[in-house]
Point group: C2
Chain length 332, copies 2
Amino acid sequence: MDNIKDRVTIYEVAKAAGVSLATVSRVINNHKNVTLETRKKVEDTISRLGYKPSALAQALATNRSTNIGVVIPRANYVYISNMLNGLTEAARDRGYMLSLFVTSHNKEEAIQAMNKVITSHVDGAIIFDDELDVEDTQKISSYQVPVIAVNNKITSDKVGCITFGYEHLLRDILNSYFTSGEKKMYFLHVHNAGRLLARIERSFVTTHIDANKSYGILSCDDSYTKTYLDFIEFFKTTKSGYFLAYRDSLAAAIINAARDSGLRIPEDVEVLSIIGTKYANIIRPTISSMYIDMQLVGRKAMQMLSDLMAGKLSQKQIKVESTFIKRDTTKE
Amino acid sequence: MDNIKDRVTIYEVAKAAGVSLATVSRVINNHKNVTLETRKKVEDTISRLGYKPSALAQALATNRSTNIGVVIPRANYVYISNMLNGLTEAARDRGYMLSLFVTSHNKEEAIQAMNKVITSHVDGAIIFDDELDVEDTQKISSYQVPVIAVNNKITSDKVGCITFGYEHLLRDILNSYFTSGEKKMYFLHVHNAGRLLARIERSFVTTHIDANKSYGILSCDDSYTKTYLDFIEFFKTTKSGYFLAYRDSLAAAIINAARDSGLRIPEDVEVLSIIGTKYANIIRPTISSMYIDMQLVGRKAMQMLSDLMAGKLSQKQIKVESTFIKRDTTKE
DNA sequence: TTGTAAGCGTTATCAG
DNA sequence: CTGATAACGCTTACAA
C-alpha cells in the first residue's frame, strides 16, 4: 500500500520554515553560506515536523547511493557469516549501507543476483560467490560498478580481488605427512560445494600423484548428521585414515563417528578441517585446521572497495594465506 | 567518482528504438497494450544496449523500493546468522532485497540505525535488537513503515511482533529439577547481552526465590576462551553445580573446563545451553539445550511483514516457544 | 497502441 | 546568503 506516502518532504519543511527548498537542502547537507539564524529556524522545523531526507531521492540526484552490494552464497556457514561480520563493521565505519544478495550454488541464480546488483544502483559491490566465472564478474564492471571479488582471481580497471592461499599450504602439509605419516589420506568430496573446495581437492590429488601415493576420495553430504552416519558405516570396515574435511562440522562428524566406533584419535584416525573456525578449538578433541581469518577478509575487502571507489587502490590483488593450526586430531 | 554515470537510460533506449519513454517503460514492466512488434523491437535494443533500469528511479517514481530493512545486533552469533538466513530465503522468494543495519549493544547506535532505516526508504523493516525499547520501535512506525519486531512485545496498526517463549519452559525445567536434582544452580550473567538474556535471568531468579532455593549468579565474558579460563579457576574450589549458559560456546567452555578439572559430566557438573544451535549436538558430550529454530523465525518474520505490508496480517503477535532438548550434559 | 507531460524528493547551477 | 529552476531516471494518467 501507500506505506511511504504522506512522508514529510523537503518542500513542506521549506514552506513551514518560510524559506526555499535550496536553503533546506543546504542545511541538511551542512553547506556553509547559511546564516546561523536561518539554519536554526530550518533545523527547528525539521525536528518539529520529523523530517527525514529520502535517501532514494538523494541518490538519484547525486548519483551516489552510499550502498554497497554484497553477494554471498546462501549457505549458512560460520566462515561466511564471519566475513559478513567483517564487512558490516568496515561498512559502518565508512558510512555505507549493505544490500544483501544471496545465491544458491547454482550459476543461473548467481547471474540473476549480478543483474540485481547492477539495477540496484549500488556504489560498489563485493562478490563472494563460488560459481561465478571471471567473465560474469567482468560483466558487472562493464556497468562501471567497482567490484572486489573474493576468492576469484580477476582484476581490471574497476575490479580488484582477494584470493585465498590454500594450495601451497596443503601441499606442504601433505608432503610433510608423506615423510612421517603412514595412513592413507582421504578427501571428503562435497558435491556442489563450489570452486574453492574443488581447487583444494585438485591440489590434494595432484600432490598425491606427484608423490606417487595412493589416496581416497569420499563423497559426502554437506550435513553433520548425514556424514556422521556415513562414517559410522565406513568405520565398520576401515579402521584408520587421515581425513580432510571441508568444514569443522564435517570434521566433527568424522571424529565423533570414529570415537563411537572405538577408534582412537589421532592414533587410528587423523582429521584436518580445511576451513577452520573458532569451533575447531571448542570441539574436543580440538581439531587441527587450516585457518583464514574471514572477518579480517571482510574488513579488508571493504577497505579495498572503498579505495577502489576513490580511485586510489594501489594493490588490486591481494592473497590471504591460510595457516596451519595443529591441534589434537593430527599427530603433527 | 562518477561510477554510475554514463549508464544507459530509458531515454536512450527509447531514442535508439524509435519509440517513446512510455513505451519502453511499458515493455520493461510487462504491461499489455504493446504490439508484439514494438515489444520485440524494444527488447532487442534493450539487450543490444545492455540497458538495466535504475531501481532507484523506479522506487522514487512508484513509492515502493522492494527493499526491506533488517536491523540485527552486530554480534556474530550462530543463532543470529541462522535468523538472517531464514530472512534472506523468504525475502528472495518474495522478490525483496535486504538492507542490513547492524547495531552494537548500545542504545544510541540502535536509534541511529532506526533513523537510517527511515531515511533509506525501505518498504518495511524487521527489527531484532535487544536494546530498543517499545517507544523506539513505535517511532519508526510513525513514519508509516510496517515493522515486525522480533523479541519485543509490541503491536499497533503497522507493527507486528514475534516473541520468544523461554520463561515458562525454564520455570518448568527448574521446578522439575528442584524435585529430583540436588546441585546448586548457577546462572551465567553476561554483561550487556541484551534484554532477552536479562529476562531469562530474571525468570531464573524468581523461580528460585519462589521455591525458596539458593542459587548463584556468575558474571562472565561473552567469549569462549575467557570463560574457559575463568571456570578452570572456578572448579579449583567448587566441584559441582548445574550451570545455565547463554550460548553453546559458553556452555562448551564450562564443559571443557569441568572435564579438564577432572570433574564428570553430568555426575558432578550439569550444563544447560539456553540458546541452543546445531553445535549443541556436535560437541561432545552433547549439550542439553533450549531450542528455537531461528531460521524458521526469520522466515516467519518475513512472511508476517509481507502480510502486514499487504494489509492482511491477521495475527499481529505470535509467540515461538522454545523446546527443551535433553542431551548428555544434564541428567534429565 | 502509442506519445506527451507531470510528478517522485532531492541536489546543484545560476541569478539576484 | 538565498531563491528559482533544471536535472536525476523512471512511472503513469491523459491525450491522441
